[in-house]
């Protein structure tokens, strides 16, 4: 990785001198490689990937999980419904930095371990997020592709169908459907939310298809004898994949908030199972006396949603063909510090130019 970066940041190869920075950057590389390199240069996205992976491992390995009836135990000693004797008045026993104690996140008023409950809640949120993202992306791509490719009557009908879903806010539709399936658990909720959350993506994909289908490469494929399915999936879709990936990521980050909100108002996941939103609802009355009951579930929602958002931002930057940022410029804060320091030293040298190349 570092090898790649140094290669990118020192484009001083004499044979390339005649090219602009953008040309040098993408010269002789496949689309996939360019996107991957740009993505890995986005520090926020990279850090978020690592944080998300660690969270995922922690959440799934700690309290164990149930895979199609197969119970896989975790390394944490308490279950999320087990009531134990109250230790330390239920206060968190975690002494910074590494002395975790018996109940690092504390206990609630009947002695349930908050760490186990938050882990279980985060599992549920992740299940909803992944299912929602997968189903919404699949439906959105299919509907948008068909509408954009065939146009005419099919387009009309599919877009009216989309309007049907768009009329009502997703949280309100989700509440009605969640009331029906909420008791069935996270997987059912994720599927139901996915079935109503595909509309935005469908519109975007339709727009992409409408413009891409008029391009020469589609005509070329048709002349070469490619069938409709092949044109849609092998020729047009790969060109629209940036839009799909980016908006799916953003959909997923909203999914976790929607699930939490639904559980909070009582239409999502219901007791005895737990979800992060439901935990916050359950413990909001205890906020002044036992704030830790309230802090942890919220913190995990934010961490997961924030990571997904940053990854989405990194992907957006990576897929944007107009991205023209100078590789290897100093960071903005360092520039500002240098600027202030320079002024105080009295040296009137011109400050390092702000990298506003994108505006040229």
């Amino acid at each position: 990785m570092s090898n790649l970066l140094t290669q990118m940041e020192t484009p001083e190869d004499p044979s390339n001198l005649g090219m602009t920075i953008e040309q040098r950057e993408v010269e002789g590389l496949s689309q996939g490689t360019i996107v991957r390199r740009r993505f890995f240069r986005h520090k926020g996205a990279l850090i978020s990937m690592c944080v998300l992976a660690v969270t995922f491992l922690l959440v799934y390995s700690s309290v164990g999980f149930n895979l199609f009836g197969l119970e896989i135990p975790g390394w944490w000693k308490y279950g999320y419904t087990a009531q134990g004797p109250i230790v330390n008045h239920g206060d968190p026993t975690w002494v910074l930095p590494f002395n975790f104690g018996d109940h690092p996140f504390g206990q609630d008023e009947i002695g349930r371990d908050i760490f186990a409950r938050v882990m279980r809640g985060a599992q549920q949120s992740m299940v909803v997020t992944v299912l929602y993202g997968a189903i919404a992306a699949a439906l959105g791509v299919v509907v948008g592709a068909l509408a954009g490719f065939y146009r005419g009557r099919i387009d009309q009908w599919l877009m009216r169908l989309t309007d049907l879903f768009l009329i009502f806010p997703i949280i309100v539709l989700g509440a009605v459907l969640g009331q029906m399936v909420g008791g069935l658990g996270a997987a059912a909720l994720g599927v139901v939310l996915g079935l109503i959350g595909w509309t935005e993506l469908a519109r975007l994909v339709r727009g992409e298809f409408l413009s891409l289908r008029e391009r020469e490469f589609v005509d070329a494929a048709r002349v070469a004898g490619a069938g409709t399915g092949r044109i849609i999936f092998k020729h047009i879709l790969p060109n629209a994949i940036g839009v799909v990936i980016v908006s799916t990521t953003l959909l997923m980050s909203s999914a976790i908030l929607i699930e939490a909100a639904l559980s909070f108002i009582g239409f999502g996941i219901v007791a005895p199972d737990v979800s992060l939103g439901q935990l916050i609802n359950l413990y909001q009355g205890a906020f002044t006396t036992r704030p830790w009951l309230f802090w942890w579930p919220g913190l995990f929602i934010i961490v997961i949603a924030l990571c997904i958002n940053f990854i989405g931002d990194g992907l957006r930057d990576a897929f944007d063909p107009r991205q023209r940022r100078i590789p290897g410029g100093t960071g903005p804060y360092r520039q500002m510090a240098a600027l202030i320091a320079g002024v105080f030293r009295g040296s009137r040298q011109k400050s390092p130019a702000e990298p506003t190349v994108g505006q040229s």
Partner: protein
Amino acid sequence: MLAFIIRRLGASVLVLLVGTFVIYNLTAISGDPLGDLRGSTAPNKQALIDARIQALDLNVPPPLRYFLWLSGLLKGFIGQFTLGNSIGGLPVTTLLENSVGNTLQLVTAATMLGIIFGVAIGMSTALRQYSGYDYTVTFFSFLFFSLPVFWVAVLLKLYVAIGFNDFLANPAISPPLLIIMSLLSGFIWMSIIGGEGKPRLIVFGSATLITAAILIFLLVTDWFTNPQLGPVLILVLGGLTAVMVTSLTTGLTNRRALYATLVTAAVGGALWYPLQFAFDALPELWFLAALGILAIVVGGAIGFVMGKDDRWVAARAAAITGFLVGFLLIIDRAMAAWPAYVQAVGGRPIATVGASTPDLGGSLWVGMVDSYTHLLLPTIALILISLAGYTRYARASLLEVMNQDYVRTARAKGLSERTVVMRHAFRNAMIPVVTVVAVNVGGLIGGAVVTETIFAWKGMGALFVSALHEVDVNTVMGFFIIVGIITIVFNMLADIAYTALDPRIRVS
């Protein structure tokens, strides 16, 4: 245009019909509307169940019952409009009447402020792309985007409401805190205004000093317990407003526009004294609205008279100034009611639940302050969430536009940066933002469902949540039909706004 609107409305009505049919059936089968009665121990349980079945036609299967509900809607044509009765026996129209106003009040304030601040912040970050300010705002907008609204709300209740109330009981800022706040403000202004080297440091220094001076002034005059603007401050703030409005709309080089706005501000300041009597003599809302319109007209007239060559431009700038100065005058009068209000609510002015203090009494002004203090927390919660989205969209779309050829042409013509940004880039950058706003209005009402639950706000969202828990189909449908209509109307307004912003787009 008219044909477009009619066609669009026709299609929307069809979609709305199908949508309500589906929702009606889903809601009806989502639970048992007799659940609470079945579990009751009342001696006349069976009679109660029969009565409810009779009242709500529960013996008719849901798909057919939908048409009974729809016929109530269609009877609107013969003057017998009804949305049916709720489970409690009240007409749904009455329930909605009481709650729609509350929700709209909440959502309107949050939307307007969210759009104004979101677009302003987003544009300023786009103009300072890749600066420390840009990165900081980007990080915070992602953070706000990832915040669950109900979680923020509880934090706001604890820290903002209780903390601020404690502060108001004994308003004092310790000197170190004052210095830190001033430095922070200086730093923020420096990063927004930008520039290089020495000018940057001058901005930092002056912003720090101004903030410190304002804070000290507020503390010394005991402003927090007895807030007021008074004629002097109104003149000063009015003058500042005039300069800012002029520099944004016409540029300070247009002297006539600058003098026109300054005169408007001066007229506003001069009217302060007579208005004190008018406010007390006519404490009515229509009077305030009339005053606002009058301010715009007077400002416009002053600008028109003084503008000479560029009448309409000066008139516009002066009208905006007039409106803002009128706003300052009203705020000043509302502030005068503050001590009375604080006393009436027992020294804890920032409310955490509900839309108004029951049995408050007092004048219009006390009532006004009361609704502001109740609106404060839910509005902040809703703004924080929607602000992030608008910031991102405004930034992205302005960046896109600033790369266009016509912006380069405008710069090459030698136009000032202000003209390029405000006149050439801004309008085009607003097109995508308008779409997002229209789509978000529906979503914001969805978000209000959660916010209202936390703040015990008796609006449509709270009505919907309790109705859905009780499987009260008619009430749920009343909520849906209003949300659906609002969404459709706003989407159509967005289409119409496109043509206003970009004459190349023709609807039809």
